[in-house]
């Protein structure tokens, strides 16, 4: 079989989503961000929302998300994405607005903005990447860092008496009357990624139906920050992260 025969259109089983730009991402090998970006790009395209979706990028590893998905973006200050999204959504009710935030952005510095946007039931989608570490700044403790987990600022492991406990913020958000859909997903296997895409799609459909705030937490990895190979990182994720942060829907109205 020649290459020309292999690349015939009828043999195509997978392609890069149309809305992913040509920019090479800055993410580390094995990082979950790239997969989630792809899923978000596919969902926006499949729902025909390219022209009326506005993304709000965080501060954290996904700070450059706006370089990778070909829609309008606003880069928010650290933790403020839900407030930024609140205003855009209210002022542009015909558009779909989503935030893309990490654990430090959403569950530490931006906790107030997150909880209050969700509590007001802002008609937005929150994509929350939980990898239990501050990736961009070099692997410091995140609010979701597991007990015993070593980071640059918990070099001997996170201790409850010194650092408090890992926060399950999606569980908190599910308690709020303003959220319509809170789910915890993962992308470390193809099957999980497919399921995650379904969740992201449902969240965007909720926004189109003006149902309130949808939160898709993606329990993800950080091979660089965790100092593990991508493969080992996924094993660690499966063993430790999903034990503390079990996958599945927390709320679906």
């Amino acid at each position: 079989m020649t290459i020309q025969e292999i690349i015939k259109p009828e043999n195509k089983v997978h392609s890069r989503p149309r809305l992913l730009t040509d920019n090479i991402t800055h993410y580390c090998p094995g990082c979950g961000h790239g997969v989630v970006h792809k899923l978000v790009a596919e969902v926006i395209d499949e729902l025909g929302l390219e022209d009326r979706t506005i993304g709000v990028a965080p501060v954290g590893c996904a700070v450059f998300a706006y370089n990778y998905i070909d829609i309008d973006w606003v880069e928010a200050a650290h933790g403020r994405a839900p407030a930024v999204a609140t205003a855009i959504s209210r002022l542009e009710p015909e558009n779909v607005v989503f935030t893309y935030q990490g654990d430090g952005d959403l569950a530490a510095i931006g906790t107030a903005e997150t909880i209050h946007a969700a509590n007001r039931g802002e008609n937005i989608v929150i994509i929350f990447i939980n990898n239990a570490i501050y990736g961009m700044t070099g692997g410091q403790m995140a609010p979701t860092t597991l007990l015993g987990q070593q980071t640059a600022t918990t070099p001997y492991g996170r201790r409850a008496d010194l650092n408090g406990y890992p926060i399950k913020i999606s569980d908190m958000l599910a308690q709020l009357d303003g959220t319509c859909y809170v789910t915890r997903q993962a992308v470390f296997t193809a099957a999980a990624a497919r399921k995650c895409k379904g969740a992201i799609k449902k969240a965007f459909q909720n926004a189109l139906a003006k149902k309130g705030t949808s939160v898709v937490e993606v329990v993800s990895n950080c091979p660089s920050g965790w100092k593990l190979t991508p493969e080992k990182a996924n094993e660690w994720l499966k063993e430790h992260m999903t034990a503390k942060y079990p996958l599945g829907d927390l709320k679906d109205l």
Binding site: R52, A76, E92, N95, E113
Partner: protein, 359 residues
């Protein structure tokens, strides 16, 4: 239709915002400016003009809502008082860095810290010299009357869009809380989505057929590009300095002494001058209306004609630095101020001028 009303400065801001066609107001209660949000909630403009009004969970959230609205090309504003403005400084720096138009009102109260709820002008440095991080400037308008509180909503928003730069209306507890006659402007319709897209081709409001995506950000990792951004900002600031200086004068033509004061305090100074003129003392008043850009040239010119300049401020002496820079040592410049929420009366100002220059 234009309408003459008697109202507080804070209430006038709310009415002016609705009539200007403001798209959104985001605020958090703090004395002495809570009437802005209260009046907007009472007027329910969402039912008439479609304006969005939202009580945010904090000043931080409010300014970031303003950032989001401005990023989408909308005419948006917030208001607060000194401690709340400190919280907003992060967002204000981002607005400047992302070159977004917005109006921020500060009805100043005495500080530092929680301070007092009484009037002050102690945030002059914060408003005109930075406050937030980075090399940026705000256009700073200083209203002295309830009418100016009204007019500067429209003027501020126009300047904000003209230069894609945040504008601060630096008011104080006096003009916020006092009532006087005000002519409210005509109702102006809010811009349609099409008009926003046409007038703000940079806005992140959905591509709607546009080929290139719009990205609003203040981030630029490459130092060369970040420096280029800064150079562009500075060029813009230079244009603002050349074109947007505003001020007013009272009896400066034959003045031997000059009082420089801004905001409501300038009115108290004017009263003192009226009384001194009756005694034959030749004093004039110069009131900067734009605190940035500062009327440096105009004060330099007046400085050549007078024997002394007294700045009167509700602080320990902040604007005096700009006045001294303007006259460049050419004439003595002295300060009289009250702090912590105390407002001087005309008699004290007269005494201060005489003590400094007519001993």
């Amino acid at each position: 239709m234009e309408e003459i009303r008697l109202m507080k400065g804070n209430e006038a801001i709310a009415h002016a915002a609705i009539r200007f066609g403001m798209d959104g107001y985001f605020g958090y209660p703090i004395t002495p400016q809570s009437e802005v949000l209260e009046t907007l909630e009472e007027q329910m403009p969402w039912d008439t003009t479609g304006m969005v009004v939202l009580q945010a969970e904090s000043e931080v959230a409010a300014i970031n809502m303003v950032y989001g609205g401005a990023a989408a090309g909308k005419a948006v504003m917030t208001s607060s008082s000194s401690p709340g403005i400190s919280l907003k400084m992060e967002g204000i720096s981002y607005l400047a860095g992302a070159e977004l138009p917005a109006l921020i009102v500060n009805a100043m109260r005495g500080g530092p810290g929680l301070g007092t709820i009484q009037p002050s002008q102690a945030d002059y440095f914060q408003a005109t010299k930075g406050g937030g991080h980075g090399d940026y400037r705000l256009i700073v308008l200083s209203p002295a009357t309830v009418q100016e509180m009204t007019d500067f909503v429209g003027l501020g928003m126009e300047l904000a869009f003209k230069y894609r730069n945040p504008v601060m209306m630096l008011a104080d507890g006096i003009v916020g809380q006092m009532m006087e006659k005000v002519v409210l402007p005509d109702f102006r319709p809010r811009r349609t989505e099409e008009e926003v897209r046409e007038q703000c081709p940079w806005a992140a409001c959905g591509k709607h057929g546009r080929k290139q995506r719009n990205v609003i950000t203040s981030l630029e990792m490459e130092p060369e590009k970040m420096e280029a951004n800064n150079i562009r900002f500075q060029e813009k600031y230079k244009a603002i300095e050349e074109n947007e200086v505003r001020y007013s004068e009272f009896m400066t033509d034959d003045a031997e002494y000059l009082i420089v004061a801004f905001g409501s305090v300038a009115r108290i100074c004017q009263k003192a001058i009226e009384e001194m003129r009756e005694q034959g003392v030749k004093v004039g008043l110069f009131r900067p209306i734009t605190l940035w850009p500062f009327p440096t040239k105009q004060i330099a010119e007046l400085g050549k004609k007078v024997k002394g300049i007294l700045t009167v401020e509700l602080n320990a002496g902040q604007m005096i630095e700009d006045v001294r820079l303007a006259v460049d040592g050419g004439v003595p410049v002295r300060h009289f101020g009250r702090m912590g929420g105390i407002v001087p009366n005309p008699g004290e100002i007269e005494e201060a001028l005489k003590a400094h220059f007519m001993k």
